[in-house]
């Protein structure tokens, strides 16, 4: 399966335990890139096949492919 960027949201009561969570997720196969402990979000990447296991990990609310934003092109008749 393809390597994808993954966003993990952890439970509010686990927000002080981000390092522990990162270790747990690494063991599943997530390569952690960035953590935002203030809001309980971990960004990483890994094989798409690990997504379901990451989502089921203890302390995790959700895990999904990281989204993004794409603005409409700049011509003035296209709403921005």
């Amino acid at each position: 399966m393809a390597d994808i960027a993954i966003k993990v949201i952890i439970r509010a009561d686990q927000m002080g335990q981000t390092e522990v969570l990162c270790k747990r997720l690494s063991d599943i196969g997530l390569h952690v890139d960035t953590t935002m402990p203030e809001i309980g979000v971990i960004f990483g990447h890994g094989d798409a096949g690990i997504l379901a296991d990451v989502a089921k990990a203890e302390g995790v609310i959700s895990a999904e492919a990281e989204g993004g934003v794409v603005l409409a092109p700049m011509p003035k008749d296209t709403p921005k």
Binding site: M36, I39, M74, T78, P79
Partner: protein, 397 residues
């Protein structure tokens, strides 16, 4: 008790009458009634009449037979005609004819854009002073002459790109929120030109960005103590989709720390085809204010997303988002754009004006003031929220 102001504002009659005939009454019968009431001189109009737009005011009455409507001119004795018409049982209603006027339509002038006029932005060039307004977007053109010499705190969260705007979207949005008053023949286009401008580049020059960069930019703006954070970006959501917890946590953190995050509702509707899209993310978060777009006639913009989803997915306020003039990078300098992206920084600018006026207006209290002071519009709340965002009548600079 009568209200003298309402009395002064009541519609003014022309002196003529509008007559409505009951359904199914034959044309000849309608014409006979009018002739009986006003004498000779009933003129009949039909849709293919080449003179339909040139009715001589001296013609005593006009009959639009196909619609069952008659008009009695003020050139006749209308009081007597009124009484006479009411004696005919085929007449459903007789009422005064009123003068009609074009509804308010805002236009750009030499002094200010229509958007600034619509939100009541003051002419004061220092309006919004002391308030940090952060625009999270594609960056800003720091070489633009309108930003020359201005203290701008800018940071890029996009890997491999500086804070310079290679797209134009960010410079346009920053201009609407807090662009300074340019000289020469360019109208004023920034709502709060005195505000301290923070720019977080979270979208690359191609106009796209990763969520991690956007969230990092939001955190930065909150930690920098920006009272107002403007986000003209987002993604579409499905009907029934709930807000993301990460944006929700950041929105709540912002409110708790005295910041207000304002986001564009989205441009995913196609109202001419009857499709109304839900407010996108992150504007659909409970703790993030969602802004819809209105046009120069204060009608909801064709593309503006709507409060289809509850639980944060409501539109909170509306602002100018069609035909919006603002700055874009050199060498073009200015461009007119449309979108809820353009409406959002108008509200951010208005928020800065309120925040500058009262130091207690921060976070949730600032949110409340914005919705309480919005000008009610005769449109569905799900489309425009509480109405058109309005600046305080006397801004503090």
């Amino acid at each position: 008790m009568t209200n003298p102001l309402l009395d002064a504002l009541r519609p003014q009659p022309t002196g003529g009458l509008i007559v409505t005939f009951k359904e199914g009454v034959e044309h000849a019968h309608q014409e006979g009634c009018l002739r009986d009431a006003v004498g000779a001189g009933v003129r009949t109009l039909s849709a293919d009449d080449p003179c339909i737009g040139q009715i001589n005011p001296d013609v005593p009455s006009v009959l639009i037979g196909s619609a069952g409507i008659g008009v009695v001119s003020d050139a006749v004795e209308t009081q007597a005609a009124h009484q006479r018409l009411l004696t005919h049982d085929v007449v459903q209603d007789v009422r005064p004819e009123f003068w009609m006027f074009a509804l308010d339509v805002f236009e750009d002038t030499a002094e200010a854009t229509w958007g600034l006029q619509a939100v009541g932005a003051p002419a004061d060039e220092a309006a919004g002073r002391g308030i940090k307004v952060c625009v999270l977007d594609t960056g800003i053109d720091l070489g633009h002459p309108d930003y020359e010499g201005r203290q701008i705190v800018a940071r890029s969260f996009v890997t491999g790109e500086t804070e310079n705007d290679g797209n134009g979207h960010g410079t346009h949005c920053a201009g609407s929120a807090a662009g300074r008053s340019p000289s020469g023949n360019v109208p004023r286009y920034g709502v709060a030109p005195g505000a301290e401008l923070y720019v977080g580049k979270v979208l690359g020059d191609q106009g796209s960005g990763r969520e991690r960069d956007i969230l990092a930019g939001m955190l930065w703006a909150i930690n920098e103590g920006c009272e107002v954070i403007s986000m003209s970006l987002g993604r579409a959501v499905r009907e029934g989709e709930l807000p993301s917890q990460d944006y929700e946590r950041l929105g709540q953190m912002a409110l708790d720390r005295g910041s207000l995050i304002i986001a564009a509702a989205g441009n995913d509707s196609a109202r001419r085809y009857g499709y109304v899209a839900p407010v996108g993310a992150p504007a659909n978060s409970v703790s993030i204010m969602a802004v819809a777009a209105v046009d120069q006639g204060l009608d909801v913009a064709e593309f503006s997303s709507s409060g289809v989803n509850g639980q944060g997915g409501e539109v909170n306020v509306a602002a100018p988002g069609v035909g919006v003039f603002s700055s874009v990078p050199m060498p073009e300098l200015y461009r007119i754009l449309r979108g809820t992206s353009m409406a959002c920084p108008h509200v951010a600018g208005v928020a800065a004006l309120w925040a500058a006026r009262d130091a207690n207006l921060r976070g949730q209290r600032l949110w409340q003031r914005l919705v309480d002071s919005a000008q009610s519009l005769p449109l569905a709340e799900r489309d425009v929220g509480r109405g058109l965002a309005q600046a305080p009548s006397v801004a503090v600079s």
